[in-house]
């Protein structure tokens, strides 16, 4: 088992209960959709899974370790094994494609020689070969999200978390991006994606975990429910 949540609860300081007793497990290599209406708790769950936030109660095990009790060094190690993609891409606007992707390798202090060879490889993998010098703001939404995906996978993470990655994209671009996520998953990376895009979920026929008002209400292969 790669990911396991045990009685996971999250209540924000304003009293809003975002998650209530979430128990789920995800095997290595799985592709899992988290679905539900806005405010169902999808984004909160993603944030807890990559330890951006801490649960109010319960805990999360990743690769057999309770990530809520990790020391700083172990948190750094955990994050080097996970990638994150957001709806709004979160790219550095004033930088080019190369620098945005290379940034993830610089941050983990990889040697420059490795950065020079690895970035073009990953850009080719996400369909942006030869676009290294272009400013990210001159790219289309779909291309910007590909840059964000390249940045998320360049460290070969075990798990890729994606929070509404197609939320700002048109249906065709979304479909192309989903192919990329499938390829990443096929290469062995576990993908956990929050989305409320019904078309995508129904086409992909992957495992779907549905949240409603912070509670897990459905866990099945294929289909879509809110």
């Amino acid at each position: 088992m790669l990911i396991q949540t045990v009685d996971l609860c999250k209540t924000y300081k304003n009293g809003l209960e975002a998650l209530h007793n979430i128990n789920l497990s995800i095997e290595p290599g799985e592709f899992v959709f988290l679905t539900g209406e806005s405010g169902a708790g999808k984004s909160t769950l993603i944030k807890l899974l990559f330890r951006e936030q801490q649960p109010t109660s319960g805990f999360i095990m990743i690769s057999g370790k309770n990530i809520n009790r990790l020391g700083r060094k172990d948190v750094v190690r955990l994050r080097r094994n996970t990638g994150v993609v957001f709806q709004d891409f979160r790219l550095m606007e004033n930088s080019n494609v190369f620098d945005n992707v290379a940034f993830a390798l610089k941050a983990v202090e990889r040697p420059w020689e490795e950065i020079k060879t690895r970035v073009p490889e990953v850009l080719e993998w996400v369909g942006l070969a030869g676009r290294e010098k272009e400013n990210v703001m001159h790219l289309s939404g779909g291309e910007q999200q590909r840059v964000a995906v390249a940045r998320a996978i360049i460290n070969d993470p075990l798990i890729l978390f994606a929070d509404e990655p197609t939320g700002d994209l048109d249906p065709n671009t979304s479909a192309e991006l989903m192919k990329l996520f499938e390829q990443i998953n096929a290469a062995g990376t576990t993908v956990v994606m929050a989305t409320h895009d019904q078309d995508i979920v129904e086409k992909m026929q992957k495992r779907v975990i549905t949240l409603r008002k912070g509670r897990l209400v459905n866990d099945a292969i294929g289909g879509f429910s809110l």
């Binding site: 750094v76 940034f103 993830a104 420059w112």
Partner: protein, 294 residues
């Protein structure tokens, strides 16, 4: 953190300093003014200290003779003073010579004219003790001589100077703390702007597994550079002012012990640069705390 990472960190530091040019300028100017005043206080305190120490080592006592003392008593008084235990030498200084000495010390050759032709000084015996340990006992003995009006020796002045040094130290310390606070706030504001501008970058660094040290160093370096630049400017200004003050003091108040530039520059450089770097580091510490909570 790997040393090679500084290849990434250094450019980041300078980029953000240039990007927030006006804030950088304001922070450097605040540090310059703060450290300039602090350095001047530092120079003042070490010089007052030096004067107090020099006086403490002084073994001379001035015994001022009453106006109505008859001429024939002067010789007897001379031998009586010489007979006091611990007295090494006694020198008679007439009121005219006394005035000339003072005029010489202040660089004014015609002090009598400046005082309207009236010399207010009494005649005086300048007594040299064998050692500074004898000064107090000699002074006490002199008090019993009816011909002597007043006695002046180092200890009194030393007490006053040390009191002045203490006041300067406390006043200086309060001023330094206020200035330091202003500098830290300005550096913090400058770095906060950089942090806000690079918030997204910092978050991405965290998510990709950058260590806190890697995230923190560009900002610490920015603080250190701001502090260093302010310190260098303040130091230059303070030492130039000191150089000119030395010339002025040598010309007009030559009796004061003023430490030469060669004797003060090393400690002053250490003081100013140390303070600048410390302020810079403190200023960079606060804006980051919130973003580094992994």
């Amino acid at each position: 953190m790997k040393m090679k990472s500084f290849r990434y960190i250094f450019p980041q530091t300078f980029k953000s300093m240039l990007a927030n040019g006006w804030m950088t300028f304001a922070a450097v100017m605040t540090i310059t003014i703060s450290l300039f005043l602090c350095t001047l206080f530092w120079l003042l305190v070490i010089n007052v200290d030096a004067n107090a120490t020099a006086l403490e080592e002084d073994v001379r006592i001035s015994a001022y003779i009453k106006e109505d003392t008859q001429d024939y008593s002067y010789d007897r008084l001379y031998y009586d003073i010489l007979a006091i235990e611990g007295v090494e030498a006694v020198e008679y200084i007439s009121r005219e010579d006394g005035l000339k000495n003072i005029a010489g010390r202040f660089g004014n050759t015609d002090l009598l004219a400046a005082m309207g032709g009236v010399n207010p000084l009494p005649d005086c015996y300048s007594i040299t003790a064998e050692s500074k340990d004898h000064v107090a006992s000699i002074a006490k003995k002199l008090e019993s001589f009816t011909e002597i009006d007043d006695i002046r020796y180092g200890e009194e002045t030393v007490d006053r100077l040390f009191a002045l040094t203490d006041t300067l130290r406390i006043g200086g310390l309060i001023l330094m703390l206020l200035m330091a606070l202003a500098a830290v706030v300005l550096i913090s504001m400058s770095i906060r702007l950089t942090v806000m501008a690079r918030k997204k970058e910092i978050m991405v660094m965290k998510w990709t597994g950058a260590t806190n040290a890697f995230i923190r160093w560009p900002f610490i370096l920015e603080g250190l550079f701001l502090g260093l630049m302010g310190a260098v400017l303040a130091l230059g200004l303070a030492l130039v002012c000191y150089h000119y003050a030395l010339g002025y003091i040598a010309q007009y108040v030559s009796f004061l012990v003023v430490l030469p530039l060669s004797a003060v520059w090393q400690t002053t450089v250490l003081f100013a640069l140390g303070a600048g770097l410390l302020l810079g580091m403190l200023g960079s510490f606060f804006p980051l705390a919130r973003f580094l909570d992994v």
